[in-house]
Subunit: 191 residues, 4 copies
Amino acid sequence: MARQRKMDMEELMEATENLLLEKGYEGFHFKALSENLNVARSTIYEYYKNKDELITDYMNILMEQVMRRIRSLADQPSSFLMLKELLILFMEYSQVYEMIKMRPSLDQNASPHVKEQLSKLDAQSRELFQILLVEIEKAKNEGSIRKDLPTSLIAGVFFNTVLIQNTDQIPPREWADLLFSLIEDGIKPKN
Amino acid sequence: MARQRKMDMEELMEATENLLLEKGYEGFHFKALSENLNVARSTIYEYYKNKDELITDYMNILMEQVMRRIRSLADQPSSFLMLKELLILFMEYSQVYEMIKMRPSLDQNASPHVKEQLSKLDAQSRELFQILLVEIEKAKNEGSIRKDLPTSLIAGVFFNTVLIQNTDQIPPREWADLLFSLIEDGIKPKN
Amino acid sequence: MARQRKMDMEELMEATENLLLEKGYEGFHFKALSENLNVARSTIYEYYKNKDELITDYMNILMEQVMRRIRSLADQPSSFLMLKELLILFMEYSQVYEMIKMRPSLDQNASPHVKEQLSKLDAQSRELFQILLVEIEKAKNEGSIRKDLPTSLIAGVFFNTVLIQNTDQIPPREWADLLFSLIEDGIKPKN
Amino acid sequence: MARQRKMDMEELMEATENLLLEKGYEGFHFKALSENLNVARSTIYEYYKNKDELITDYMNILMEQVMRRIRSLADQPSSFLMLKELLILFMEYSQVYEMIKMRPSLDQNASPHVKEQLSKLDAQSRELFQILLVEIEKAKNEGSIRKDLPTSLIAGVFFNTVLIQNTDQIPPREWADLLFSLIEDGIKPKN
DNA sequence: AATGAATGAGCTTTCATTCAT
DNA sequence: CATGAATGAAAGCTCATTCAT
């Protein structure tokens, strides 16, 4: 099998994710990445022709994973419960929204291959948003969500609140319940 | 051809803000900045010894402005109303939270002067958080906020929801009211 | 006038020419170029965004110069004499044909700007060839050139023989006369 | 998956020649070579320790082949006819002159082994030139070549004109005759 | 003050070369 | 033999920063 393999795709993707979250697109360097992985910088180029191809590949893999999870969520008793499941999923995959915010930076000097990857990515983002928007609308019709709140605002709450830092180290499940409770009933006491 | 264009501090700060928001700390370059301002790159060095000093200076100015506004808010009839005013202020100054998230990047190779600027900044951030946390606690005691929600979660909601993109272009005042209504009462219909 | 100017466009073009002739397109590096010019590598980037832009710019300048000279040659008493003048010119500018041979290498990853420069260049090359071919045809009709030799062969002789190394260091004018004499009458003694 | 494709020396030499002619010494890379041959890059190292050894080996093989052909040409009725045969041979092996022009690039960091190969090569080049020069001198003495033309110029014509692109796709034999006719009698009509 | 010019540091990328299987 | 994997050296390029006017 030739020289001992040092690079591990899983590790590469993990390191890519961490570095992206920490430094953002502009601060993402193969130098730091290779140091994290303990391989030579050039080794990464054996797998990815450049930064953008690695990043878009990572994003697509992430998105596919999330979409697979979302599709496996289908058939909840109600849209309201579906939304709760989505929120929990978004918390687990809070990188997704960070990546979506990073997306515009990738347009500059996108090579044809990168462009292709980006359009796949965009398609999946659109699908993700679509699902969320549809579920919110359905829940409004179900009568389980207020109709006076714009759907875009509610969707925004879903994406943004999952980024809240859990500084008190509350257990994830409990944190999710608290967050959903806040979104559901607000901060005002019940009566 | 000397002195073609005077530097204007206001413009400099504005351009700094825009570039920081658009590209993040790692993507903030004097090159782009000077192009936006239509001055020579070297001209900026007449005012700031380097990148980090400009950025920390901008951040401090921003923070001072916000803190001044917050202090002018004091003496609301209730903590609950105070929190509403704070949310409106955070919406107006949504850059603030973006800057706070950018803060850690500034630690690397911070010169003594930058370190000093950073500690001023940290002091102001701490004060800002403190005010928010105190008001939330007071509101809990007032009985106008549920006690079962962790204060850190509520504070997080205050910072994060102001970043929601107003994609539907709803007028700012109305958007603020809708957002506060959501935070106050949740998405569930009253019944 | 700011820091003392070290780069001189004339020198830059000259060094570019020399390096291109010596190493060819693939062996042309900014490193060697900057060493020849005694400036930092990055300094060259202040003038040219990259290798290809410098090279195509150089080639266009060269071509324009040659075409200007050619146009100033017009109105010779006969096409035959015109061809002699052209040969002398080609000897003086023997780089031109070397550059034309290098031309195809420039197509890979040509940026839009480079593509534009290349199409200008191609237009001038075409014009140059055209002039040569037309003069050869006219000379054939004048009866001063054999009609049994393909025009392309004669044109080829004009371009290729100017590249013969003058190893014996014969004075240019004399060398040109000898070369033209060979082309005119061949190597066989008159009888 | 070992041993998928056997290396074939003939193919290797052919690919080496093509790549050298297309890209020149500086643009000759094992990467492209291995892709052309459809073998792993590292496989070439089983046969040649490095780039330069492959190139000098190829050049020596080429030169030997040419010299063998030249030796088999000996004993023409006259030096003039010998020169015609040589021209035809040079047309068939027009790579030879391209390689000779490439020769100087090989001096940089030549390893001992490469240096040895180069000196063999140089010996053969010298012999080749020698033969050509001697035949020209003999033909001058025979009275079949003008004595007023420097031998070096005539030799140069032999090497350079074989590089003329046959753009009109004239059959090789015919092209050779036309070229020799031009060299012999010049472009001027007979009377 | 403002600028044009130059530069070094550091990242991106390519490629020859090595090595274990 | 042939290969896949890893790597260092060197080129490509960008940008913060300095400096003389």
